[in-house]
Symmetry: C2
Subunit: 247 residues, 2 copies
């Protein structure tokens, strides 16, 4: 069976995949870009892909991310490898096959096309931070749709993909201040409140407004611009920009 791959599959490293947790921020919520699989039954899976023989793993992750988001220069980082022996959730597989018996017999869907679901895979988890307003989510042929879901209200994910998101979120929390990466989730200009709400959605807890502002300004990585006239009945907040040169 292992020797029956089509030539194109031979270009990839076998049994190794990359799964991407793409974080974006919208409507005061940290969200993840998740495609729905084009099978009967409701199955959601993280955007994933494989590694070409002459391609580095970071390079491959970048390629996959660019394909899915339509943007370049994405902040991304490896966070963990998932490689338990029985990664493939049996219940999930049985349900999928049962629900799709007819389609799987179809010539358009030979077994090879969802081989990646049935074989044992080790997967490298990457998380990415994107400015959601710049992203144009791209379906692939195996997707029915692709949408943003709040990180704490994900649809039913296949296999260990829900655990992957949790692990990615945890790594993001650990790295957020250390690596000054929150700004990748915001548009170029933002107010202090917007930044604070982003932090609050990432850590799922409130921060005192006065001290949050102090902490952030003390980092000395923000550039204060003109005020933003919101039209609201109050003092207008400043706009800030992240000074990338200082990192």
């Amino acid at each position: 069976m292992r020797d029956m791959h089509s030539p194109s599959e031979q270009d990839y490293i076998q049994q190794l995949s990359i799964d991407c947790v793409i974080f974006g921020y919208q409507d005061s919520q940290l969200s993840v870009l998740v495609p729905k699989l084009n099978f009967k039954g409701d199955f959601w899976a993280l955007p994933s892909g494989f590694i070409y023989q002459n391609e580095g793993i970071d390079e491959a992750a970048r390629r996959i991310l660019e394909t899915r988001t339509g943007i370049k220069d994405i902040y991304l980082e490896q966070f963990r490898v998932f490689g338990n022996a029985p990664r493939s959730n049996i219940t999930f597989l049985e349900r999928l096959i049962q629900l799709n018996e007819d389609t799987l017999g179809d010539q358009r869907f030979n077994r090879r096309e969802f081989d990646w679901i049935t074989r044992r895979f080790v997967s490298i988890g990457y998380y990415a931070l994107v400015d959601i307003s710049k992203v144009v989510p791209q379906k692939t042929e195996i997707d029915e749709s692709i949408d943003w879901y709040p990180v704490r209200a994900l649809p039913a994910m296949i296999m260990d993909h829900a655990e992957m998101v949790q692990s990615a979120l945890h790594t993001l929390q650990l790295n957020l201040d250390e690596k000054l990466i929150a700004f990748n989730l915001l548009p170029e200009l933002f107010t202090m409140r917007e930044l604070q709400e982003l932090y609050e959605s990432i850590f799922d807890r409130a921060f005192p407004r006065n001290n949050f502002q102090k902490k952030i300004l003390d980092l000395n990585v923000l550039e204060r611009l003109e005020k933003k006239f919101t039209g609201a009945a109050n003092k207008a907040p400043f706009l800030y920009r992240f000074r990338r040169e200082n990192v």
Copy 2:
């Protein structure tokens, strides 16, 4: 070429390996267990291995570590995946082949036997913390010898293995207090000074004695035992034991 593997190699996941940075502590120095390859020329490589088809990656790492150290219940943790496209250092490979032309033609050494050096591999890095006094380093057939080297005075390592050690050390530093794992590097009983010297060798800097002791005791994870009479001309230090039940 890829289809010419021997049956036994087919039991492994292809092109995926595990490299282990095994940390131990001896003579006030943080050290790493490194085998020397059984080739002409001086080549050192991290202990490594492959993953069976029905084996989890953590499981595989544990097996490799147990084989190399002769002990069980080892603390280990994934720290990063190394998968740049040109991982194999060209200079290194050329030198190795040049120096070993005769042996490589020998029937005992068909190409398959160091296939793992020439093919493109993605490697999962694990670091392990062991009580060096319990370890009996085990050579494998591809090793000439295996020894402990101070982490800051390693021999010339092949490919990116030196970078792997640095990356493992960095992760260890980040996790040390958070996960309370330093004690895995010490024998069951130790003095405060021994613990402090361990910390100093890990971070490569001095800590003030008074505050270090306070910080550690405030963690509330140590059990103080009777004093240790060293025979030195001074007050005898207490012995401590790590209370594993509290973690």
